[in-house]
C-alpha cells in the first residue's frame, strides 16, 4: 500500500469516566484502502470509528486528516466532516424529508451545490444505489436495506474522501444484508477509501484490503485479509474467529 495517507491516527485514547475504551491506537488509513475493523462487542471498534470524524472527542492522542491535525482546538470540525462521510447502523435518515431532500440537504445548505445541481446529483446517486424511483418517497416507506442504501447515497452526495461505516448491516433483516454489501462492494471497486466496522466476515475477506482486530482498546492484529483469516498467530483473534466463522 503506497497511496497517500488520508487518516493518520497516533496513540488514540478515549475514556468514558474510568472506562478506558481506547488505550492507544496507532494506524494509518491510505487512499483507496478498504479497512475492515473487527472485534468482540464492547471492544471499542465503534468508538474508534466515531473518533475519526470526532463524533467522539478523543481523550488522548492525535488524528491527522490529509495532513491537518483535527484533534486540535483551532480546527473547523464542520469543514473536516464534509470530507468524511459516515453511514450508521440505524441509518439515521431524516424522517421528515423526502429521499431527495435527505440527499440534497447538506450540499445545498452548505453552499456546495445549488438546488438544481444537487437534484441532478441525487438522481445520479439514486441510480447508483439502485433506487431511482424513490426520490419522492419518505424514509418510512422504505425497507431497512433501502434505507441504508439511501444513507450511503446521502453520505456520497458530499463527495467525501473517505467513508466510515458503523456496522452498516447489523440492524438489517438477513435477506437485506446482501443488497447493502453489494453497494459497498461497488463503492470499494470505484476506489473509495472506506473504514468499515463489521461483523460480516465474508465482506472483510473478499472486499477489504486490510483487516484490523481491536480488542481491549488496542489493535491486536493488522494484516491483509488472507493472513488475517488464514494464518494469524494471535490467540485472541483465533479464538474470536473460531466463534464467528
Amino acid at each position: 500500500m503506497n497511496g497517500e495517507v488520508l487518516l493518520d491516527i497516533q496513540g488514540l485514547e478515549k475514556h468514558f469516566g474510568d472506562n478506558k475504551v481506547l488505550r492507544g491506537i496507532t494506524t494509518q488509513i491510505r487512499k483507496g484502502e478498504v479497512v475492515a475493523i473487527i472485534g468482540p462487542s464492547g471492544c471499542g471498534k465503534s468508538t474508534f470509528l466515531r473518533s475519526l470524524n470526532l463524533l467522539e472527542e478523543p481523550t488522548g492522542g492525535k488524528i491527522l486528516f490529509e495532513g491537518t491535525e483535527i484533534t486540535g482546538t483551532k480546527v473547523d470540525v464542520n469543514h473536516i466532516r464534509r470530507k468524511i462521510g459516515m453511514v450508521f447502523q440505524q441509518f439515521n435518515l431524516f424522517p421528515h424529508l423526502t429521499i431527495r431532500r435527505n440527499i440534497t440537504l447538506a450540499p445545498v445548505k452548505l453552499g456546495i451545490l445549488d438546488k438544481h445541481e444537487a437534484n441532478r446529483r441525487a438522481d445520479e446517486l439514486l441510480k447508483r444505489v439502485g433506487l431511482p424511483d424513490k426520490a419522492d418517497a419518505y424514509p418510512e416507506q422504505l425497507s431497512g436495506g433501502q434505507k441504508q442504501r439511501i444513507a450511503i447515497a446521502r453520505a456520497m452526495a458530499m463527495n467525501p474522501d473517505v467513508m466510515l461505516f458503523d456496522e452498516p448491516t447489523s440492524a438489517l433483516d438477513p435477506e437485506m444484508v446482501g443488497e447493502v454489501l453489494e453497494i459497498m462492494r461497488e463503492l470499494a471497486e470505484s476506489g473509495m477509501t472506506m473504514v468499515v466496522v463489521t461483523h460480516e466476515m465474508g465482506f472483510a475477506r473478499e472486499v477489504a484490503t486490510r483487516a484490523i482486530f481491536i480488542d481491549e482498546g488496542v489493535i491486536k492484529e493488522d494484516n491483509t485479509p488472507e493472513e488475517f483469516f488464514r494464518s494469524t498467530q494471535n490467540e485472541r483473534l483465533k479464538d474470536f474467529l473460531s466463534k464467528v466463522l
Binding site: 469543514h79 450508521f88 421528515h96 447538506a106 444513507a151 458530499m158
Partner: protein, 227 residues
C-alpha cells in the same frame, strides 16, 4: 320576561352586543400577540436549555432560563398580570400592553418546556447524522431537529394556546375590556347575569373548538409525510 325579551334586552338594546364583539377582538388580540411572544421566547429558551443539556455549553444562560421558568411557573398568572400592570407600568395605564407582556412571558415558560421535551425526544442519531454531513450545530437544529420536534409537540402546544386563550379572562383584574369583562358590562346595565355569561361561555367554547380543529388539521398535514 320571555326568552326573546331577555335576549333583546341583553344583546340588542343600545347595541349591547358591541361589548361582546369588542371583547372578542381584545381577547383574540391578546391571545395572538401573547402566543407569538410565547413561541419566539419559548423556542429560544428551549434551544438554550436543550443545547446545555446535550453539550454542556451555555451554562449561565441556562441558569437564567431555569430561574425564569421557576419564577413564572411558580407564581399565579393573575399575580403576574397585576404586577406588570400596577408595578411595572405603575405611572401609565396600559392595560393591553400589560396583558401582551404578562401573558406572553407566561406562555413562553410553558412553551419552552414543551418544546424542550420535544427536542430531547428526537433520537441523538439525527443530530449525529446531521453533524457527520458537516452541518453546524445550528443548521442541524434548524433543518433537522426543530421541524421534527415541532411536529411531535404540536398537540401539547395546541393545548397550551387553548389554556392561554381561556386564561386571558383574568384580564378583568385590570379592567381590560376583554370578552369576560364585556359580559360583566352588559350585566351591570341589565341586571341579568345568566344571558351575558352563557353567551360569553358559548363564544369561548366556539373559539376553542375552532382552534382545536384548525391545529388538528395542521397536525394531520404535517403527519401525512410519514406514511
Amino acid at each position: 320576561m320571555s326568552f326573546q325579551e331577555r335576549f333583546s334586552l341583553n344583546f340588542i338594546e343600545k347595541g349591547r352586543y358591541k361589548y361582546l364583539v369588542s371583547g372578542i377582538e381584545n381577547t383574540l388580540l391578546i391571545t395572538i400577540v401573547a402566543a407569538a411572544i410565547g413561541i419566539a421566547l419559548g423556542f429560544l429558551i428551549a434551544i438554550i436549555r436543550s443545547t446545555h443539556d446535550k453539550t454542556g455549553r451555555l451554562r449561565i444562560l441556562n441558569a437564567l432560563c431555569k430561574l425564569y421558568l421557576t419564577v413564572i411557573r411558580g407564581t399565579p398568572t393573575t399575580v403576574q398580570l397585576l404586577i406588570v400592570y400596577f408595578v411595572i407600568f405603575s405611572s401609565v395605564s396600559r392595560p393591553m400592553l400589560s396583558a401582551f407582556i404578562a401573558f406572553g412571558l407566561n406562555s413562553a415558560a410553558y412553551v419552552a418546556e414543551i418544546v424542550r421535551s420535544g427536542i430531547m425526544s428526537i433520537d441523538p442519531g439525527q443530530t449525529e447524522a446531521g453533524r457527520s454531513l458537516g452541518l453546524s450545530y445550528a443548521q442541524t437544529m434548524t433543518y433537522i431537529i426543530i421541524p421534527q420536534a415541532f411536529k411531535n409537540v404540536l398537540p401539547a402546544l395546541t393545548n397550551e394556546f387553548i389554556v392561554l386563550l381561556k386564561e386571558t379572562s383574568i384580564c378583568i383584574a385590570i379592567s381590560l375590556r376583554d370578552l369576560t369583562y364585556g359580559t360583566q358590562l352588559i350585566s351591570s346595565q341589565t341586571y341579568d347575569y345568566m344571558f351575558p355569561l352563557l353567551a360569553g361561555a358559548l363564544i369561548y367554547l366556539v373559539i376553542v373548538v375552532f382552534l382545536t380543529w384548525l391545529f388538528g388539521k395542521l397536525e394531520r398535514s404535517l403527519r401525512k409525510n410519514e406514511r
